[in-house]
């Protein structure tokens, strides 16, 4: 072959190869640019686990979940979390290989990479053992098998493991995807924070926050990282936004107690002292929460809203004080009895009891209705503060007094016999002039206590001041309250009339009542009823 032919052949072959191969490579690489998901590298051990699990059809979806995880992207395979040493409590020989695997990776395992998160969690009330410390009395009412998939399932989040670590990371970070987006979903918190005792998910759904999230949240990136003091990327918060995630001023934390100022789940609302040495006092914690609120809300709104919620908590205490006074009195007089075995009491006149109505009412007025009353006020769940809250708590108190009257208590009988409208306020009151929402004309002209007690606001002043002096309210809160007190005609809307607007609706209302009377109330059917004495 001459040089010219050789040249042509080489140019032809190499040009064809270059075009074909490089165009294919460029196409393959271009296609990869459309993958949002990063590629994962599966190490040999992990590949062996996955292949066997898939072949035998064992927990196959879990291997799929792992492939979707950040762990997979970062090259954290099965062994990194599931490796075990001989003699460990959860060490198990894999039946298909010579691997010794840990059945239950614990926070001790997670800690190897996520030390800060595990530490923060262990310092939070999520890790607290209160349910064990106060379980003996309640455990008499609920049999053990029922609590396995009841109490224990949720309180597993504070599990104490044989290796000494505490907590259950996958309670929120569903294994094996460990997705931040799943952990952030309000329904994840709602796996436990739901139902009659602490309907936090329902309160959130009722709130404006939850409403906007329901309408628009499906478009949001819930898997965002919340480090480096960055802005909250979404329009409204979910549970974690306020209780855990960071914003411009706050670092993110796995200590859910770090921003809570009350122990409002307790029998009494008191200012938290939890982990004070590390986290600071309740005012520091409230400061953190306010810093989150102020990412979206004006300072005055935040302060008024939270102060009002604080006064609801304090009001709860006063109702509780009255309830406990009656149960103690009835216990002392023998109307109700404590549960007892071998010299040990299993019920308490200040906490709970199960076999007599007042004890049950007292328990519900704290553990169910009392929490709904307080937590609704803290998280914008108006219906939970009102109908599922104070309405029920007040009803509990009334039932307790009526029970005492039925069983011969003279003071209770006097209350039952009373016709005075103020009989339901057998306790001291807290209040704040107006609300965070705006100025409301006419609303504050209706309450009985406003109209019949000229010293109403003097009494309230004294109570709020006492709470402040007791350390239950902060100085800025007291000053904020005073500012409203001193301008209460404005905040209560009393100095504004708007009569023409009000009278328009009053006239419409009169027509409604007239028509209701005409259409229904004055209506009598001709056919006789079937049951006659």
């Amino acid at each position: 072959m001459d040089t010219m032919k050789g040249q042509q052949w080489l140019i032809g072959i190499f040009s064809t190869l270059l075009i074909v191969i490089l165009m294919i490579l460029a196409g393959v690489e271009m296609k990869k640019t459309r993958h949002d998901k990063p590629e994962i590298e599966i190490d040999k051990t992990t590949a062996q686990c996955i292949n066997c699990h898939e072949r035998k059809g064992i927990a196959v979806k879990q291997t799929g979940a792992w492939k979707e995880s950040e762990h997979a992207v970062m090259g954290i395979g099965c062994n990194e979390c599931h490796q075990a040493e001989e003699g460990e409590f959860d060490a198990q020989k894999c039946p298909e290989s010579d691997f010794l695997i840990a059945r239950h990776p614990t926070p001790k395992d997670c800690e190897e990479c996520h030390a800060q998160e595990v530490k923060e969690f262990a310092e939070s009330k999520h890790a607290h053992q209160f349910w064990l410390l106060k379980n003996a009395d309640r455990a008499i009412f609920e049999n053990p098998i029922s609590t396995r998939h009841g109490c224990e399932q949720c309180h597993q989040i504070a599990n104490i493991w044989p290796d000494g670590s505490v907590g259950e990371c996958d309670a929120c970070h569903a294994k094996h995807s460990f997705s931040k987006a799943v952990a952030r979903q309000p329904e994840t918190c709602g796996e436990c924070h739901v139902g009659p005792d602490h309907p936090h998910l329902e309160i959130y759904i009722e709130s404006k926050h939850g409403n906007i999230f329901a309408a628009q949240g499906h478009n949001w990136d819930m898997g965002y990282a919340t480090t480096n003091n960055e802005e909250i990327p979404n329009e409204v918060p979910v549970c974690t936004t306020c209780h855990m995630d960071g914003n411009e001023t706050q670092p993110m934390t796995h200590n859910v107690s770090d921003r809570l100022a009350w122990e409002s789940q307790m029998t009494w609302s008191f200012r938290t002292v939890w982990n004070e040495e590390e986290s600071g006092d309740w005012q520091v914690k409230r400061g953190r929460m306010q810093a989150i609120c102020k990412s979206c809300h004006a300072p005055d709104f935040v302060e008024t809203y939270l102060l009002t919620a604080d006064l609801v908590n304090l009001q709860y205490n006063e109702i509780r004080r009255e309830i406990v006074r009656w149960t103690k009195k009835m216990t002392a007089s023998g109307i109700i009895d404590r549960l007892e075995a071998d010299g040990k009491f299993y019920s308490s006149p200040v906490l709970n009891g199960w076999d007599e109505e007042p004890e049950h009412d007292m328990y519900n007025a704290w553990h169910h209705e009392g929490r709904r009353f307080r937590h609704g006020a803290e998280m914008m769940g108006a219906d939970f503060t009102q109908w599922h809250g104070i309405w029920e708590v007040q009803d509990d108190l009334n039932s307790i007094i009526k029970y005492a009257a039925e069983h011969g208590d003279k003071e209770a009988q006097k209350w039952v016999d009373s016709n005075h409208p103020s009989k339901f306020a057998t306790y001291s009151l807290y209040d704040i002039p107006g609300s965070a929402w705006g100025i409301s004309v006419k609303v504050n002209t209706t309450p009985f206590v406003y109209n019949n007690y000229p010293d109403y606001w003097d009494r309230i002043y004294a109570n709020v001041e006492a709470a402040y002096q007791r350390g239950l309210l902060s100085k800025p809160q007291w000053e904020h309250w005073l500012e409203r007190y001193e301008n209460k005609d404005h905040y209560l809307g009393l100095k504004y009339k708007a009569d023409s607007t009000f009278n328009y609706f009053k006239e419409r209302n009169d027509i409604d009542f007239e028509k209701m009377d005409e259409q229904v109330i004055q209506f009598k059917l001709p056919g006789k009823p079937f049951y006659e004495k």
């Binding site: 080489l10 075009i19 490579l25 460029a26 271009m30 640019t33 992207v73």
Partner: protein
Amino acid sequence: MRVKDWLKERFPIDYAKFIEINENIFIKEPIPNHLKKWYYCTGATPLILFAIQVVTGILLTFYFIPSPEMAYESVRHITEEVTLGFWIRGVHRWGSNLMIITLLLHIVRVFFTGAYRKPREINWMVGVVLFFLTLALSFTGYSLTYNQLSYWATTVGTNMINEVPVIGHWLLVFLRGGEEVTANTLTRFFTIHVGFLPPLIVLVMAVHIIILRIHGVSEPEGYEKGHYPFYPLHFYKIIIVFLFVLCLLSTLTILLPPGLGEAANPAVTPSHIKPEWYFFPTYRFLKLVPLNVGIGGTALFIIGMMFWPFIEPFLSRDISKRTKISFIVASLVIILTLGFSIWETVVL
């Protein structure tokens, strides 16, 4: 007054001379007969692609914002919201890919026809410079999309500069505008990509073409001697190539549009960092050998390629033996290039 006369008054030059020069340089430029073959048009194709890149590039700068906060978002805006933005971006991206492929084809053709030999050594070197300038243009352009892949490719790519002896660190800090890849890097790369490299390429390309014209296109053996004028045959040939390239770019953009990827996150290092495919041979080579050997080897390759017209005569006095050695070396280089590229593509 006719427009021609009006212009003549304002630009009183010798039009007869102007037309003559124009005819000599462009219209009647003698094109050797072998250029009637399509595969000898590989020199003009990168030029056409460069022109397309300039036009689409200018259109992209209408919307692109070179800041870490806005770069990815503005690329997304171009791709998803701007009218025909996806097409402009796709053509620009694929244009860069095709430019490199056609340059490689051009280099292969020039090399195997021995067109780099005396007296055209300097033009070979100018061509090699153009090839590396094009790679630099692609590298800086890729970094501007500011997604996770491009951010980390930029980080790793610029890290390599650190290994250059003596001036490496200084060069790294100069390019990045600091120790890390930051907002400074993005604005520098943008300026280099838009304001520095394209005019430089135009200049070097002008030198390349002037030298070519001075010497005339080298004529491979085995073709009927003789020439034909640039216009109309070759002119229309270039127009056809332009239309073909535009169709090809459009087709590729429709079938395989460039994606957006994941937004750059300097806090999260992906487990797999890869440059664009045209750096795969170097990247694979660097993975196979210690870093300093890799950098040294790459530098030697560039020097060898650049000065091959002067190195070759030392290999043998016998011209046919010399040709044989050159063919073997070039064949090995191409096979290795393709082999390393495939290897890097198929492994994770």
